[in-house]
Amino acid sequence: MSDISNFFSRMLESYPLFFEGLLLTLELTVVAILLGIVGGLVVAFFKLSNSRVLRAIAGVYITLIRGTPLIVQIFFFYFGLSELGISAYWCATIGLALHNSAYIAEIFRGSIQSIDHGQTEAGRSLGMSSLQVMRRIVLPQAFLRALPPLGNQFITCLKDSSLAAFISSSELFNIATAQGARTFEEMTYLLIVAVYYLVLVLIFQGIVHLLERKFSAGEERVKTYDRKKNHGKGQLAQ
């Protein structure tokens, strides 16, 4: 009982501190994802281009980033970029942005490739150039389809931003561990910060669900659509 009341009193008392951390976490995440989208688009186009060299560059970039842990990358940017006098905040942001750009590139590549090739053929057969087809037919559809996975990537990034704590960024997790270390009540503050993350994640998950609903409604319905809905539940049913 006293544990629980202690938890709530700590939670109330630490609220202003965590609120600042929450803002920083959100800022880190939003900026990293926005930069990641820009970078991801470039990498995706490299990956889909006709030039072997560009494809290879994109491939190596994606492999390097997806082949090493984020925490290694964050430390790497932190100590590697310091000659340029970049602050911890920007090192964390850039590290997260580069990390995300590799994943976002794959999202864009996937969504572009998921557009039925018939769309391209229809465009080409009407005399449109490949650029016109890409810009007017494929990309608008691919963007819509990329929105839900981008939303999920945002949520992943939100959680990953906790690693910025290790390069002294005062986001949520760093505040929690610092408070824990000060009071020797690590568990309490870990619980508190878990609640903050959970609430953030649930909010953004709600938004992603809305996006998914909105954009799957626009897709062409197949004849078996209605039956597919039955799939999930009751697979174990009689």
Binding site: G118, E121, A122, G123, S125, G127, R136, G218, E219
Partner: protein, 240 residues
Amino acid sequence: MVKVSSLNKSFGDLHVLKDVDLQVAEKEVVVLIGSSGSGKSTLLRCLNFLEMKESGSIEIDGVQIEPKSTNLNVFRQNVGMVFQHFNLFPHKTVLENVIEAPVVVKKVPKDQAIAEARVLLEKVGLADKEAVYPNKLSGGQKQRVAIARALAMKPKVMLFDEPTSALDPELVGEVLVTMKDLAAEGMTMIVVTHEMGFAKEAADLVVYMHDGQIVEAGKPMDLFTAPKQERTRSFLQAIL
């Protein structure tokens, strides 16, 4: 209008078109039949350069086209194509689907493109659907929009690749009617289909393909009632 001579095409080791010769005169309607995998689609796609031929020549409207030397985008405007799965642009309304290519490719002023599109939609019986998105249309309606979209570029030849085979039986008729109208107006057409009724009524020539080769060609009545080749006979028996 269309003249194909000893056309060859392979996918890797698979020799799909073997020395195909085909001539289609202006205003002629040719129906291509043949079993699955015989190369019908590949032939159409070569005519439109969605696939690149390997050897042989293709001449359309008196112009011989070499993929390397020609601007294919300009050339493709002369050849309309209708696909089995419609391939309408789902993010554009019916009207936007039809005006897309004229406006973007031919730089037709938008007003004029819209006026022309409306005439075409009237013709295919969908004047009331112009503001609707494709996912609200039935298969037959989609295919008719696809025909209108291809016609909007004022092509000299129209290619149809199994335009009714993805449709529910009841919806086949409305698409065939549109195609017959088109034939009656004098459009040059090459149609891959298994709708023998259409072939009988509308085709000037029926061509039977097997294994990448044209086995036999003739007027519909002749070919259907008295095929010369054994293979043609057994194919017709199976599908009629």
